[in-house]
Symmetry: C2
Subunit: 346 residues, 2 copies
């Protein structure tokens, strides 16, 4: 029997509610297999910060490293100054654990309400770079609060960092039936970073002659996402553009209540982290209203990452079947979780 | 009689075609008034660069400065390396002429096809900062083309630059019936720039107690633009976020064929520049297929900026009436222009 050691960061707001359902479905999917899961709960997020002033200590990080994967609910609360938990906890995990592939699939399940009148057959995945770009925290400000203030943000892009994520994206595109890769950037304005991305895609592309490559500026990509999202298969893009595009992608495929993500270290030298794309939604926290589906789908990505394809697929199929039967009646967080458990077990 | 000296940069691709119609409608709107227009054509864009290697010389810029306003078609051609004309001509004009307000109205005219199933009543304006942010060209790269390459892009934000555009946005919000201003940024990640924007909006907001202020992260803003665009009234945001949001805004309100913009220096110390949001579309250039409506609406913004409200409104009304009678039958560039001339004159 194989034991999976799972670090659980339930986090803030609706995080604990959706994570509870995710874990229920995980257990159900592994029942009857020779895989068992042991979980360690990590007390991280707004409460811990208020109590101790800590976001993520070295000891927390070392303990998390001892695990095979991380399931994260949501981080962030209005009572904490903007940026403290995002930079000090969520992004710190992504950076410290070298999660350079931020994987965000978008699929429009049949029957799901979408704001688009004629979405077409939407099934693409965004490979968002996770350890560089404007997210590196290399900005700074001088004369803060005076009329002479200057605040800079620096986007750092390296051949090392771009090449590895582009390679991952090509491999994923190659493994998909349509074999299409779209680079999204803004190389007519951000010429240095943009040209590095472009040259890298061209170079790695020579190793994948079967993969068709195209390019869209980030502004044009948002247009395509609402006028012709079916054109996309795999999108590779930088950290900030990926952040923006994947929220929009979620919106057109049923909302962030359904959008899953994996923060992946493909070499497996560190635990990868799986989390819903949505935030902590403090306005509905504790009311049992949150849709746990995005977390459950993130559990499916987690299992796939660990090579457990059968239970991963069982969960994805259960979600698809559940979604197909939705009629718009609101269901509680646990009702959805129970329904998914029943399908996975049935 | 008042004479308006107009610099005309028709540019590349479909630029000359749509500008020709814009000028026709401009003449029609001013016929019978005591305002006359004299135009100076500037040979700028891909052809000039191929011939001379020049994008925008000091002499060009000085000559343009002698004008009251600029009408620009589109800049960019695949035969020119990415970034050369964008940075060397279009952005150089915006920066050199201190066009710090990049004004982009989005209105869903009745009858216009939109990709959204239930768009609601969409009528907002994006005030995009035009002279700072990641557009400043302060990036650079080392060891280009080697595995050790590092390419940085720097977003520069100053209290001086942010305050003046925020003031402009508040004034615009205050003058509109709904009096609502939304700041869009990403202050949980881009903490230095984001907090400067936030503090500035808070500070200027105290002078506008009637204006309701809210905030959205840029990723969330893209969600709202497809799920509830009617929530927006005035959006103020940085140069890059504004670029992205306004293409998406155009897409949901009938496409970039209808989206107008003004690059404005509110003090009037330099000529402001009016241009369609769309690009040069080289694939359809010379075929008389381009919709000149975005350029015509940009002419309306130009007249409004020059204080000529009646002809500005006549053009906007003509466009609204023309759009209301569209039935999807393709019309040539000149057909649309002629129809708008007829309405403006009639
Ligand atoms: C909370 C925030 C830091 C985060 C990001 O910007 O990456 C979120 O928007 C996401 O997409 O996971
Ligand atoms: C062509 C490009 C430099 C420009 C920009 O990014 O500002 C365009 O996309 C726009 O929105 O006017």
């Amino acid at each position: 029997t194989r034991e999976i050691k799972l670090a659980v960061v339930a986090g803030d707001g609706i995080g604990p509610e959706v994570v509870a359902e995710g874990l229920k479905v995980l257990d159900a999917a592994l029942a009857g297999t020779d895989v068992s899961v042991s979980t360690t709960a990590f007390d991280l997020g707004a409460d811990r910060w208020h109590r101790t002033g800590e976001t993520l200590t070295d000891a927390d990080l070392e303990a998390i490293r001892e695990h095979d994967a991380i399931l994260l609910g949501a981080i962030g609360h209005p009572s904490v100054p903007s940026g403290v938990l995002e930079r000090g906890l969520l992004l710190k995990l992504r950076f410290a654990l070298d999660h350079y592939v931020n994987l965000r699939p978008s699929r429009l399940y049949p029957g799901v309400p979408t704001p688009l009148a004629a979405p077409g057959d939407v099934d693409f995945v965004v490979v968002r770079e996770g350890t560089e770009g404007p997210y590196v925290g290399n900005g700074g400000a001088i004369r803060v609060g005076t009329p002479a203030e200057v605040a800079n943000e620096v986007s750092v892009n390296t051949a090392y960092g771009v090449e590895r994520v582009v390679r991952d994206a090509f491999a994923r595109a190659h493994a998909r039936p349509r074999k299409k890769l779209t680079l999204v950037h803004k190389h007519n304005v951000l010429v240095h970073a943009g040209h590095l991305w472009r040259r890298t895609v061209e170079a790695v592309g020579t190793e994948y002659p079967e993969v068709a490559v195209d390019y869209a500026h980030v502004d044009a990509a948002t247009i395509y996402l609402v006028t012709d999202p079916a054109r996309f298969d795999v999108i590779v893009t930088d950290n900030l553009f990926g952040d923006i595009l994947t929220d929009l992608a979620a919106a057109i495929t049923g909302g962030i209540g359904l959008a899953a993500s994996g923060n992946i270290n493909p070499e497996g030298t560190t635990p990868s982290m799986f989390e819903p794309v949505h935030g902590s939604a403090p306005d509905i926290a504790g009311q049992g209203k949150a849709d746990p589906t995005a977390t459950v789908l993130s559990v499916s990505l987690l299992l796939e990452h660990l090579g457990l394809d059968a239970p991963a697929r069982a969960i994805a199929d259960a979600v698809a079947a559940d979604i197909a039967e939705r009629d718009g009646t609101p269901r509680s967080t646990t009702t959805v979780g129970d329904a998914l458990v029943a399908r996975v077990s049935g």
